[in-house]
């Protein structure tokens, strides 16, 4: 029985990996877009003076872009459950003698793996461009943050997918929720230490879960420009991750084909 469940998890994971490797355009797009941010936006602002940015701007934006790449990619794989619903493949999975829990684990692992691959590519490019590293421990912590971001976003994607029936809803959520949250996360520019922003926006940025992910990643990778101690960030992100994953898998297992 356990062997069958492991097989099921493996199948769900393998399927996503195969689809990922085969869709060349998706891989290229998912790497080129963050690269534009990093090279063009980062390069263009590299010598700009921003309150709260102590280093070259490229090194400030690099962790934010890594977080963005992982976030968007894993959220998309979470929501791609919708494709399976629309193309009927979900029914095939749901009539198989495997638990919904294994299906969720397999999907989450698959989604997180593909997102992490993209995240790592950006990370290597950023390091190659000269982003300073705090050391081995910092890199390990960076890795942990990347994994947590991936799982959280897949969980969030699963929640969306079990509440929605088509892709229009996903577009609206992306524009109305994800982009504002992303801009308020200090990924592209600092918010907490910025005197030009209204107080209310600064306050909102502190209840934004993405802020702790980006800030944690920044603190552990570059050791500069961060506001909150990485370990405190780690705790907060871990809690958010557990909540999202639990909620996501619960809601997914309740949804019907």
């Amino acid at each position: 029985m356990i062997k069958a469940e492991l097989q099921a998890i493996y199948v769900m994971w393998l399927r996503q990996m195969k689809r990922f490797v085969r869709s060349k355009s998706r891989i290229i797009a998912s790497i080129v877009q963050p690269l534009f941010f990093l090279v063009i936006l980062g390069g263009g602002f590299s010598t700009a003076q921003l309150p709260g940015v102590e280093t070259n701007y490229i090194y400030y934006i690099a962790p934010g872009i890594i977080a963005m790449a992982i976030l968007f990619s894993s959220m998309f794989t979470g929501v791609s459950v919708l494709w399976d619903k629309q193309f009927g493949f979900m029914q095939e999975v749901l009539v198989a003698p495997i638990s919904r829990f294994s299906i969720v684990i397999g999907r989450t692992l698959g989604g997180a793996t593909t997102a992490l691959i993209q995240g790592f590519i950006i990370l290597f490019i950023a390091i190659a461009m000269g982003t300073p590293i705090t050391g081995a421990l910092g890199l390990v912590l960076t890795l942990v943050f990347m994994i947590l971001i991936a799982f959280t976003a897949v969980g969030f994607g699963l929640i969306l997918a079990s509440r929605m029936n088509d892709f229009q809803g996903f577009q609206i959520i992306m524009n109305l929720i994800i982009f504002p949250l992303f801009f308020l996360s200090s990924a592209i520019f600092p918010i907490g230490s910025n005197p030009n922003l209204p107080d209310i926006i600064i306050k909102i940025s502190y209840i934004n879960p993405l802020f702790y992910m980006v800030d944690g990643l920044r603190g552990s990778l570059t050791g500069a420009n961060y506001l909150v101690d990485p370990m405190i960030n780690l705790g907060i992100v871990l809690i958010i991750c557990v909540i999202m994953l639990t909620l996501g898998s619960f809601m997914f297992s309740k949804s019907e084909a």
Binding site: Q7, V11, R15, K18, R22, F87, G88, F89, E92, A257
Partner: protein, 330 residues
């Protein structure tokens, strides 16, 4: 032995009762068909029997296991081919089969052999490395049937197996279904709204309409219940003619429809002159008359009072007209 048995199976969606106290059984090894128009409750029944939907009343056993309490055992013992394709089009045909086999716990050796067998059964051996997105509609359907058979299910459910396929492909799929029923002894439960399909494939047919089973019998018996021959006629005064015809003992049954009458009789060609004579005596002009062997269409007409096509037009009208303009026929 009964391999599917339902007891007052019921499914209600808000106000609509999709499946209404349905009780029937399917014998091991037979091809059993549900025949009915769109929206009759066929797919809902399949979804309940395959554990995708929970019934709101009644219960059922499939392969000896309860569909509510022993879901996993039911799932292990059934194969399903859904109405809409349920393949991963980004994978090859072989990968679709392999992933399916893994989910059902087949070992590596068994997997490889079985994939070869089922692909042979549906004639897709030389397409196994092709991505499913490049398959034609008929090939996809055949691959799904093959996949449904991968894990040696005791019962294979086929929901409208030839919907939207051309007649050549339909023939091919029919022969696939017959073949697997014969070679592997798989019990097959299928739904269809094609008369020829039920007629060609099924050992027994259940006629379902508005969520209720109207009759279940072998296709031969169903056709006989209408009469050995069916005479269809229309006249200047159908009502008056029926009054006369009802007195004739050789007529098994009479049905009046909007513009025509059908009679179930023996030796139909000998009865045509007799009917014309009766008409002439009453001064009723017979406009047209024909005799033919009964089809399942006649059976459906006999039990529901309308043809499947009528019903579909009616459903269509229901969709486009506001509810208050519709008077239900029953």
């Amino acid at each position: 032995m009964e391999i599917i048995q339902t007891h007052n199976l019921t499914k209600k969606f808000d106000k609509l009762t999709a499946v209404d106290n349905v009780s029937f059984s399917v014998k091991e090894g037979e091809i059993f068909g549900f025949l009915g128009p769109n929206g009759a409750g066929k797919t809902t029944t399949i979804k309940m029997l395959t554990t995708l939907l929970n019934p709101t009343g009644g219960s059922a056993e499939v392969a000896g296991y309860n569909i509510i309490k022993q879901r996993d055992m039911v799932r292990q013992n059934i194969g399903v081919v859904f109405q809409e394709p349920a393949l991963d089009i980004e994978l090859t045909g072989q990968e679709n089969l392999e992933y399916h086999a893994r989910m059902y716990g087949l070992s590596k050796n068994k997997r490889e052999n079985r994939i070869k067998d089922v692909l042979q059964l549906v004639d897709l051996e030389n397409k196994k490395k092709v991505f499913v997105k490049n398959y034609s509609g008929g090939m996809k359907r055949r691959l799904e049937i093959a996949r449904g058979l991968m894990h040696y299910p005791k019962v294979l459910f086929l929901d409208e197996p030839t919907l939207g396929l051309d007649s050549q492909t339909r023939r091919a799929i029919w022969s696939n279904i017959k073949k697997m029923n014969k070679e592997e002894g798989t019990t097959i439960f299928l739904t269809t709204h094609y008369m020829e399909e039920a007629d060609f494939l099924c050992d027994r047919v259940g006629i379902i309409d508005y969520g209720k089973i109207l009759t279940i019998d072998s296709t031969l018996n169903l056709k006989n219940s209408v009469g050995n021959d069916v005479i269809t006629l229309s006249s200047a005064d159908n009502k008056k003619l029926i009054e006369k015809l009802e007195k004739e003992p050789w007529i098994k049954n009479i049905k009046q429809y909007d513009s025509f009458i059908t009679l179930g009789v023996e030796k139909g060609e000998e009865k045509i002159p007799v009917i014309i004579e009766i008409g002439q005596k009453q001064n009723i002009r017979i406009k047209s008359i024909s005799v033919r062997k009964p089809t399942l269409d006649d059976v459906f007409l006999h039990f529901t009072g309308r043809t499947i096509r009528d019903q579909e037009n009616n459903n269509h009208m229901n969709n486009i007209l506001p509810q208050r303009f519709i008077r239900r026929r029953r």
